[in-house]
Amino acid sequence: MTTTEPTSGAVGGWRRPTPTELWAGATVLVIAVLLIAPGWIAPLDPYRLDVSQRFRPPGAGHLFGTDDAGRDIFSRVVYGARNSIGAALIVVTVAAVFGVVYGAAAAWSGGILDRILMRVVDLFLAFPYLVFAMAVAASLGRGLTAALVALTVLWWPSYARMVRGQVISLLRDRHVRAARTLGASGPQILRWHVVPHTYDAVLVRYTLDLGQALVALTGLSFLGLGAQPPTPEWGLMIADAKQYALTAWWAAVLPGAVVFLTALNFMSLGDRMRRAGGTR
């Protein structure tokens, strides 16, 4: 993962990674392990019911305690990363890719087509996205896929607007004129000389948005509009634990703390990347 820290030393040569790069690398590594091999970390089967182990408080046997069906909450949180972080990754990745292509296309085409394309973006941004995501998720028939589709549909316009602005100012840049003089075609210029320059800013927003999307997705699941039981998913786990939160606090509080810390990690990492990169 690259960051926007100023590069020191020769290009391609090894240099000591900056703290931000180490932080980003560690984040990627932890998430990769959680998504690919949760079994390495989780001590127990996330689906195994054991009524004799109901409502065990956090302790040696069960790090995060157990829920009303005697399932190990820590194991469920670990396996839940696939559904929670994984879903957030899908939403933001699809939204970012589509938004970048859309924004670059609008900026490149210019004129009336650009105005129409951006009016569509304005329209999407004029909707209160959370309520719409709920309505879309409810209509598509409650499930993780429905929540994913609902959020993705509403997430891409901010990328389109950001990238369009950048591409328009980049197209006036000297190196683009040079490329054009040398006979590069339109798509070539866009692909190799313009769009890559927007990646720094897109990456910063992407990192920040991972946190936002995680909170939004777990929020939808919390309302019953995302993953359905008995899937281990963070928002759903908290919703299930809500009814007995006053007696077995850990079942709601600890998975919630994991959502919070994960989002906090993404957002402070993104914040740091932005400050390290400065403003273009």
Partner: protein, 343 residues
């Protein structure tokens, strides 16, 4: 270039047209969404023990056997006359349901927006005014935590600690009108108890508000604070501030009389946006605290595939969102004299 006079006359017209386009799209999208719900509305309306003939009869009554375009036309016509249909769950007109749920949500939204706007702006000003010191660490922490913390987590945590353990506040529900015999005038507990003039009742209303409002404030004040700070800091770097300082104008006067006025604009826009979004944000809070407002109504509608209710809530929040944005655009020139001249 269009002559300025024509543009000036055209601006409110295009603004209004845009509002209509947004609302019409919202109407159309919600209509389409309501027709792809996986549950059969006629079946839901007829009840579980209804036979196939009864379901067919209900379907005909609801107009669901007509072609989609006819249904769409009828829906638009009904909307224009203020008819939002009947809720499958409550068996009442959706409009009545909305109107009875609205005050509780408004109370929550208005009280908390007022608090987080004032807190956020003041904290942002303090941060820009005293940019160094131990308090900045706290403010920076608050800024990151405030945007990352999930609403449902804060709500549950407050509920467990302050209602469950300490029993300072009620676990759930809004002000109890029936139990106390307070007449419903506005439907907002705080206002109606204040109208009776009985301070213990006002205290009761405040106690019910405390936890949900705190949840909203904790999750919302950070955006205003961060924006206020960066906006004010940017103004303080401008040449006019340097000139004023060189002329020996007092720093307090520079900040509060000149810079603050210019710096408030983006903050007001953001607060307007947040107010518009809050209808979506209160759903989770109302569910946690069983607060009988629009959010809880929407939640029940989502769970029951009550499609008329879903459409109505979505539409209502879109209209509110668009109107708030338009309003913010309209009060802009009042805050910024430069824009008044440009208009």
């Amino acid at each position: 270039m269009r002559p300025p006079v024509a543009r000036r006359l055209l601006k409110p017209v295009t603004g209004l047209a845009w509002i209509l386009v947004v609302v019409w799209s919202a109407v159309s999208v919600t209509f389409l969404l309501s027709r792809i719900v996986p549950a059969d509305p006629a079946r839901l309306a007829a009840g579980l023990d209804a036979g196939p003939e009864q379901v067919a009869q209900v379907r005909a009554e609801m107009g669901l056997d007509q072609p989609l375009i006819v249904q769409y036309g009828r829906y638009l016509g009904d909307l224009l006359t203020g008819d939002l249909g009947r809720s499958v769950q409550t068996r009442q007109p959706v409009l009545d349901d909305l109107l009875s749920a609205l005050p509780a949500s408004l109370e929550l939204i208005l009280v908390s927006s007022l608090i987080y706007a004032v807190l956020g702006v003041l904290a942002g000003i303090a941060w820009a005014y005293w940019p160094r010191g131990p308090h900045t660490l706290l403010l920076r922490l608050g800024a990151v935590v405030g945007v990352a913390v999930p609403v449902f987590w804060v709500g549950l945590l407050l509920q467990i600690v302050f209602a469950g353990r300490l029993r300072w506040f009620p676990v759930a529900g809004n002000f109890d009108f029936e139990g106390t015999g307070v007449p419903r005038v506005t439907g907002m507990g705080l206002v109606d108890t204040a109208l009776t003039g009985d301070l213990t009742l006002v205290g009761e209303a405040l106690r019910t508000l405390a936890l949900p409002v705190t949840t909203l404030v904790v999750t919302h004040f950070a955006v205003a604070m961060t924006l206020m700070r960066s906006s004010l800091e940017e103004q303080l770097r401008r040449p006019y501030v340097r000139t004023a300082r060189a002329r020996g104008v007092k720093e307090r006067r520079i900040v509060f009389a000149d810079a603050l006025r210019n710096a408030l604009n983006p903050v007001v826009t953001m607060l307007g946006l947040q107010l518009g979004w809050s209808l979506g944000g209160v759903v989770i809070i109302e569910v946690i605290f069983s607060w009988p407002g629009l959010g809880l109504y929407a939640y029940h509608a989502f769970s029951a595939f009550d499609y008329n209710a879903i459409m109505a809530v979505t539409l209502l929040s879109t209209v509110a969102f668009v109107l708030i944005n338009a309003l913010v655009g309209a009060i802009y020139p009042l805050l910024d004299p430069r824009l008044k001249e440009a208009r």
